[in-house]
Symmetry: C4
């Protein structure tokens, strides 16, 4: 396969000054071609949401507690019936062969080694069956296909390859105003394609001459509420919707039988101006009640961010861009190391906020905003 | 005509990295002479309002909605009895031959091609009749002339040339403390003059020796309330007042029969310290009720800005400086492309905020301020 | 006299790009020696108050009003019984020969030419009698001298030279942590001395060995409440206290017969952390009632700042550092031009906020904070 | 001893432009090796708390008062039964031989000369008995040792060497995510060791293979509530807990007999995101009542900071990093000068806020936040 778009081979060791997630971002810049960097790092429009995803964590203070009992401390949790070592998952991220010759396979190996669930994207650059061979627990992320039968095909393949949950992404019926990537002239290089979709018919513009392509083509291809009900009937696996920011959408999806939601603004990549997910969580948790599974992504870079997300109402968090940075810098080794940093920082954050278990993390860790 | 003040001829194509309104600003810098740049880009005094116009949009978050019905989605709206494809107009902007040899003619051609109403300035650098020949729907913006008959003359010419509405600007009886333009030594170059006014007598300073020129000359020349009532009687065309920032002024103008208002701080060019129009809209909408037509300008740079302005109470928005940037960069082609960017971004913003029609845009799109 | 400390002679014309007060600051940097610049520009400690003086104006929005009647518009006002053309005074500023060979004489000439009252500092570098010869209306600012008779001497001299009001400064019993000036090694150059004080005995440290110089020397030399009552009895001229930031101090001074107060944080030069005077005014106005004269200084750089100060409760404003900048750049001509900029900007600000007279300026001009 | 890690010998004079604590920081940069600088200056993770420690003081305004009686003004106070000249102490800071060949001895000499209590760290690089020989009043800071008898040994040594109070640090059971120091590759150089601990057994990791080192090793080694009760019984000296940020922890420690607390976020070095201690003080003061001794550290750089900390509820403040900067720049002379700056700035701040005694400092000095 053609890997010419890869600027510099991944390292086979971890440099000693690479000690945090932001160090991976800093290093990654040197391994990734400019246009690909613009594509993966950029957000929508003026990137206000992209910045706010980080700022929302930065300005939320937490208490240091010193007297809790840590004799049985651990980070274990139960998500949708599955026991996890830690409330960490890898978010679905497309096109990973942009960053590394093995792409999603390397990521899957690292996730398996670290016992962290991996959510595989519909737009993976390696066929899902191949990824599944290297993965531990994995879930399948579905981008709705215009033909219902194509969705059935994807579901059947995922279930056959032992996916443990299905995640349908709802917040990106159009891909957003990705100006940074556009200015850099990004397009998928020859060596990278969406391997799960090669058998499907290419999408044809359904807008008539002079009609809005956005309204008459893209918005017609996204799943209707009926499609979502139909999808619910296709599988008994846990079903989640990704990209929810409003409490009413959350409740509507709960009512038609969704098991969980991923609160997300797509890493700031679709609608610029959506609040950070940390801000969105409390109202959505109230709306859906304490039992519905709420995951979140967008902006998690620190163990303390995980604690804050859980305190705000999430059950677990999904890691997005750090996957790509660590994959580019050091392949499977990098992704595993990145996950270890998260695990150690999470333990440190729990130790210092006095939360000996995941259940002990509540809004009480929050102090008044700076 | 003398076009020596034009630094660089406009392009006859759109460069591939020119994908947003801010890209036009970036490009335009290279096509525009320093003093002219200072004049068109600058604001009053310390330019706090100029900055706030952009900041007000940047810090207002909006929700991404995922379950709305888009089967009959469109951007059409009705403004003062006119059906528009979209809630977009071109704001009155003076002296466009500063930017392009064809000036307002090129802008009018683009507006006509894109079916966007154009508001022609009293201070246009091409005679209004000539502009009208190339325009689609156009409105006439009136700067009050000291002699009532001169206003009558302008009105008559505009109506004869098929203007569909009259807009009188009230917020600039003095031109403001335009320090950036002053420091750059800007004055109208030889090749550019206010073509609609050449027949009128030059204004003579009415302040006596030692009296305030501002109070005794400029403030005497602006229209009194009686003048505005008189103006209302001169035409049955829709009549709007531009430059309103206070609810009481809005109500007073409504009471004497104005059909609409353009909420504006003149792009930050007159009184520094006026709030952004986004902040002003809600109280004015409450003051005048839901039926009065409210347009707004000052700071619209994104499709999401249009959605936010409408959510805050506007019926449509007017685009100012982006006209000039796109005109300088690529003439009529540039202005048309600029309008297409707005249209596409507006559709994208509506698609992602779950608003399938202009009427569906309400304060519900707003999330709590960052 | 020795003028070696003056870096560059003042201009005898106004450069065309010198159109605002901040332009004077920019120009002045090139006319003033580094250590003197540090002394006059610097504030106390980390200069938070210095910055806040400007920020407080920058973030306070105001409305543009378009329908007021301006037929009898003017900027006249009455302060302590004196008719002024405008609510502008020159604040007491020490050591003006640091900036220009003629020092306070040039400033006085400009003030007289522009009909603006001048407050002469006890620490002037020209004897008050000489300044008075060139001044129009002038007031005398008193720094309390340890010996009551020395204060009597100063008062007698001032009254004899036709001072129209007495201002005693209370906020600088110690000169504050002037780190910027200290780092620059500033001390008064040979050519500049405090001419009004040459006849008085040099102050002797009254603190015993090991005692606090601040508490046992400086704080013993400042006026007690009894001293202030005594001072009140020494003159029938209007008496003001300068440097008031707390409503209770304001009321206490009102009770012992002070006619007016200058709300001030000494231009951010004494206690770092004092709020901007714009923030202090409303509570002090409420405390002393509508009749007591309240002036203010610290941070006035624009005509709109004057309007904001008056809207917040001041009767007039005093201009400090801009005196020095304009004096250094263009001597008396510069100071006069600086005052003309303020007058024109004030008229412009009144015209655009719809305030035709000083009395019409009220809290109604304020919009909600950005 | 090996002092090769010291970049540049300390000065034996104070440069004239070294007039504030921040000047010591600026100077110190040139005396300290990069990795050591990263270790002492850095904070945890993204250093939000480190920045907030300074910002919290910067944005808290205070009033200038002009009429208070200062005839008996002084800075004396009583802390835990000890009369102090001033509400200033030197915080426990480890490893001072990193900065100066004499390390803690030089600091102790300066503290003794200035009559300021010194809190000696368990991790001092000079044996506590040696430090005690040069110190005036000193307290001992205890890092809990895994074996109770080792704590007894340390206590006995401290009491024998005349320590006047015991401070146990509770907020650093793990050392935090010290990324800046990690990136710089900091480790204790050969010439510096923890002299008080050389006789104790090296700590052995108690976590089993695959278990969390943080939970199963570090968190097991920190003192339990029972350990703290035991500690209380070991000494009749005043006992304080350091690193408290939550009112409930404060109350729990009060209930088991602690005499005082040091409100601290460890200079931003352990849990990133803890609020500034200035923000934490009011609620803790309310929780423990007016009689419990509350000290604070983290971010004190100015005399006004001391006033603000006391106004917010502290009885005295501890100075941390400025010790190290001044020690590196000018040894004992530097530390003494640094303390003199604090004393003079405190007197100046009291003089200008109208607080003639420490008891007079209350929340009344605060104005509304900028």
């Amino acid at each position: 396969m053609n890997n010419e778009h890869i600027l510099k081979p991944a390292l086979d060791y971890i440099p000693p000054d690479l000690v945090s997630i932001s160090d991976y971002e800093r290093y990654a810049r040197h391994f990734i071609r400019d246009d690909i960097w613009a594509y993966i790092s950029g957000g929508a429009a003026d990137e206000h949401t992209l910045a706010e995803n980080l700022q929302s964590f930065a300005r939320q203070p937490i208490y240091n507690r010193v007297l809790s009992d840590f004799s049985t401390a651990n980070t274990r949790t139960r998500i949708l019936g599955y026991e996890l070592d830690s409330p960490l998952l890898l978010a679905p991220v497309a096109h990973q062969r942009l960053l590394h010759p093995y792409g999603e396979i390397a990521t899957a190996q690292a996730a398996a080694a670290m016992n962290v669930p991996l959510i595989v994207s519909t737009l993976s650059s390696v066929a899902l069956e191949q990824i599944a061979q290297h993965a531990g627990q994995w879930w399948f992320q579905l981008y709705w296909q215009p033909q219902r039968e194509d969705n059935q095909t994807l579901l059947r393949r995922a279930i056959q390859a032992d996916a443990r949950a299905i995640v349908i992404t709802l917040d990106a019926p159009v891909s957003g105003v990705r100006n940074r990537a556009q200015r850099a002239g990004f397009r998928l290089p020859d060596g990278v394609r969406e391997e799960n979709l090669v058998e499907f018919a290419t999408s044809v513009n359904t807008a008539a001459e002079g009609e809005s392509v956005i309204f008459k083509h893209f918005m017609k291809q996204r799943p209707s509420l009926d499609d979502l009900k139909w999808l619910r009937e296709q599988t008994s696996l846990p079903l989640l919707a990704k990209g929810i920011s409003h409490p009413e959408d959350a409740k509507a999806l709960q009512e038609i039988g969704f098991d969980g939601l991923i609160i997300s603004n797509h890493g700031g990549r679709t609608l610029d101006g959506v609040p950070a997910t940390l801000s969105l969580l409390p109202a959505i948790r109230i709306a859906v009640g304490k039992d519905m599974t709420l995951l979140m992504d967008s902006g998690i870079r620190r163990g303390t961010d995980v604690v804050k997300a859980l305190a705000a109402g999430a059950d677990a968090v999904c890691i997005g861009r750090p996957q790509l940075w660590s994959l580019a810098v050091a392949g499977a080794l990098g992704v595993a190391h990145m996950l270890r940093i998260f695990q150690e920082e999470l333990e440190m954050a729990m130790a210092l906020t006095g939360c000996a278990t995941i259940d002990a993390i509540s809004q009480d860790v929050f102090a008044d905003r700076f």
